[in-house]
Amino acid sequence: MEKRTQFPVGWLPYALVAPQLAITIVFFVWPAGQALWQSLLVQDAFGTHTEFVWFENFDVLFADETYIESFKVTAKFSALVAGFGLSISLVLAACCDHVLRGAKAYQTLIIWPYAVAPAIAAVIWAFMFNPTVGILAHGMQLLGYDWNHLLNSGQAMTLVVVSALFKLIPYDFLFFLAGLQSIPKSLIEAAAIDGAGPIRRFFTIAFPLLSPTSFFLLVVNLVYAFFDTFAIIDAATAGGPARSTTILVYKVFHDGFRGMDLGGSAAQSVILMAIVISLTVVQFRFIERKVQY
């Protein structure tokens, strides 16, 4: 029988978690509560008159075409970011795993961009792609391709996806590489003796064994695309042209802090909150169980 140690319950455990609880309450629960409350109010910018309106802000929001559009933009953006992020970094990791000489140098170079702050990464890319002075835009114009992400929504989306990937790939790469290196050599060697080529070995052995890592990264990448790319959007396109890169989190900022529509902005963040909660539930309830470890 398992032996369990029992501690007498006193004040100590509560005192030990108290700081963590205090931080959670002050920085998470309280602001979230305020957002919930604010989402039920209509208020002018200075807060001189306030009216409690129940769910009017939500009604307005869902009647707003641009909000629905922002959902679509977010879906497209996060699918592109997560899709390309996972596949490119997996290819890079698989290649790096096979490199014999100078592997550390490759790894270091690939991980490097992770140290760049998102806003700076976006400014770098936006500058290189700037239709007037950008070196890449200039190069493309020389090749006869008219690059102007200020006007072309597809190009603007490309720009923010590239900037986001620049930051994301190193992170994914690290996890994939670690995952690949932890696969037992004996399995790979056995498959090699049975006559499986490198590609076959990758798809039948390495890839399935990486599935926990992949699912973890999928959720992390989605969260990244949903929330952490704010700085990139703000610095590179400011949501334009014609809202084609206005993702949900950018719209919250724009409506709240540029448009001073506090109630509407709070309602949007409440909806975002619900999305995060459901993403987390999905991750723990369904995906984690189905993944083969």
Partner: protein
């Protein structure tokens, strides 16, 4: 012993520091002027502080216009507002709806018994910031108006007279065509498209932009800029995009780089771009009046301003307001204004400063710098040309930008885009009206 000495010194210096701060009443001034403009702002504050000892104005840079407006609002909500806040023109309605949060400038001046003559100011400048009774709500600070910049060297190359810039939009078209045929990639570009091509084009042709005197008359205003004139104008520009005469290069001042970089031969943008163009252009350039349509009756009327004004926040002590009033008087003096105008390219806020600059021979030495003022003074502002005051104007400008971009990308027709902009903009106006019911304080 040594420690004791240090302690004494620290205490003494603290006491002294506090003492000297108490002697002069401190006045916080939040602004958005970065770089060289920020230095000019400091110059004005320093000049005022040196001119007397009772008050000390402390300018604080609070980020760009949008950021500093957000900061000001947050400060008001937490009871830590500055005395003076610089707010851009599209934030005017937001500030006015602040009600108890702000103190109108005319009130500040009369309560402080400061000599104050609203007529000394330029009507086209102050008009933007006065209420329907003609009372000044905020103090204009940095104001500019759109003008036409053109590349004289490019004109010469295309066989055009560099001293005869186009006056009407039809002439702009001819000129752009000739310049393009002479091998230039871009004939014309524009900064601040909503401000220049819609807001100013309406005023310049004395046409209504929004009902209720462009929003001055109440929050229940409606946008009406989908007029024949503007549809025609946007259609013209759109056809220029197709013909390669007009290149769109961004919503704010980014297109200016296309001009001084030598890509575009003509640019309509803020007159305050002058300094930057002068610094960067490696060619001769000229400044000229905003083009117009000659078949529209009454055109050109007068153009309207952009820029920012200084708002006084409520809830301060009377002594502090006295200092604010004294500072405004100092700031409006012809010398200070002329200096600010000549160094920055913004228009002076008083007529006396304009006269002074004239007397000093500034415009002869710097041809083109008076175009903006002449445009503003061209005629007495009418109800349609004294300015535009809309709630949620930041969003409305964003909507206009989006709709215009879809025209330039040839995704929408000009009429459709302007109709949509009006419809979507009106939703924003109703939202603002809903959150700021007048008289419901």
């Amino acid at each position: 012993m040594k420690i004791k000495n240090i302690c004494f010194a620290v205490v003494a210096s603290c006491a002294f520091g506090a003492g000297s701060a108490q002697a002069a009443t401190e006045i916080q001034w939040w602004h958005s002027m970065s770089g060289a403009l920020g230095e000019r702002v400091k110059e004005i504050a320093d000049g005022f502080n040196a001119s007397q000892s009772a008050y000390k104005v402390v300018p604080v840079y609070k980020g760009g216009y949008a950021d500093s407006l957000t900061a000001t609002i947050a400060a008001v909500r937490s009871g830590k507002a500055p005395h003076i806040a610089q707010v851009f023109e599209v934030g005017t309605a937001t500030m006015m709806s602040g009600g108890k949060a702000i103190k109108p400038v005319y009130e500040v001046m009369t309560q402080a018994h400061e000599k104050f003559d609203p007529k000394a100011y330029m009507p086209a400048v102050t008009g933007y910031y006065t209420d329907t009774k003609g009372r000044m709500l905020s103090m204009p600070f940095n104001s500019s108006t759109p003008v036409l910049f053109y590349n004289k060297d490019a004109f010469k190359k295309a066989g055009l007279d560099p001293n005869k810039p186009p006056v009407t939009w039809d002439q702009v078209e001819e000129t752009a065509t000739k310049v393009r045929d002479a091998g230039m990639a871009c004939g014309y570009t524009t900064g601040w498209q909503s401000w220049v091509q819609l807001e100013n084009m309406s005023a310049w042709h004395n046409q209504e932009f929004a009902t209720k005197q462009n929003g001055f008359g109440g929050l229940d205003t409606k946008l009406v800029f989908n007029t024949q004139l503007l549809v025609r104008h946007i259609a013209k520009l759109s056809s220029w995009v197709k013909a390669g005469l007009f290149t769109y290069a961004g919503r704010s001042n980014q297109p200016e780089a296309k001009f001084y970089g030598g890509d575009c031969a003509m640019l309509t943008s803020s007159s305050a771009a002058y300094a930057n163009i002068k610094k960067n252009a490696k060619f001769q350039f000229g400044v000229s009046q905003l083009p117009y349509y000659e078949d529209v009756k009454g055109a050109p009327q007068n153009s309207i301003i952009g820029g920012a004004s200084l708002w006084v926040m409520a809830g301060k002590k009377p002594a502090e307001y006295k200092g604010v009033a004294k500072f405004f008087t100092y700031m409006s003096s012809p010398e200070v204004q002329a200096n600010w105008h000549q160094k920055t390219g913004y228009v002076p806020i008083t007529k006396a400063a304009y006269e002074l600059s004239k007397k000093e021979g500034f415009y002869e030495k710097n041809p083109g710098t008076d175009v903006a003022i002449q445009q503003l003074l061209l005629k007495n502002p009418t109800k349609d040309s004294k300015g535009i005051r809309l709630g949620n104007f930041v969003q409305i400008r964003g909507i206009i930008d989006e709709e215009l971009e879809s025209v330039w990308a040839q995704k929408k027709g000009p009429k459709q885009a302007l109709d949509d902009a009006v419809e979507r903009g009106n939703v924003e106006l109703r939202k603002f009206e809903r959150a700021n019911k007048p008289g419901k304080h």
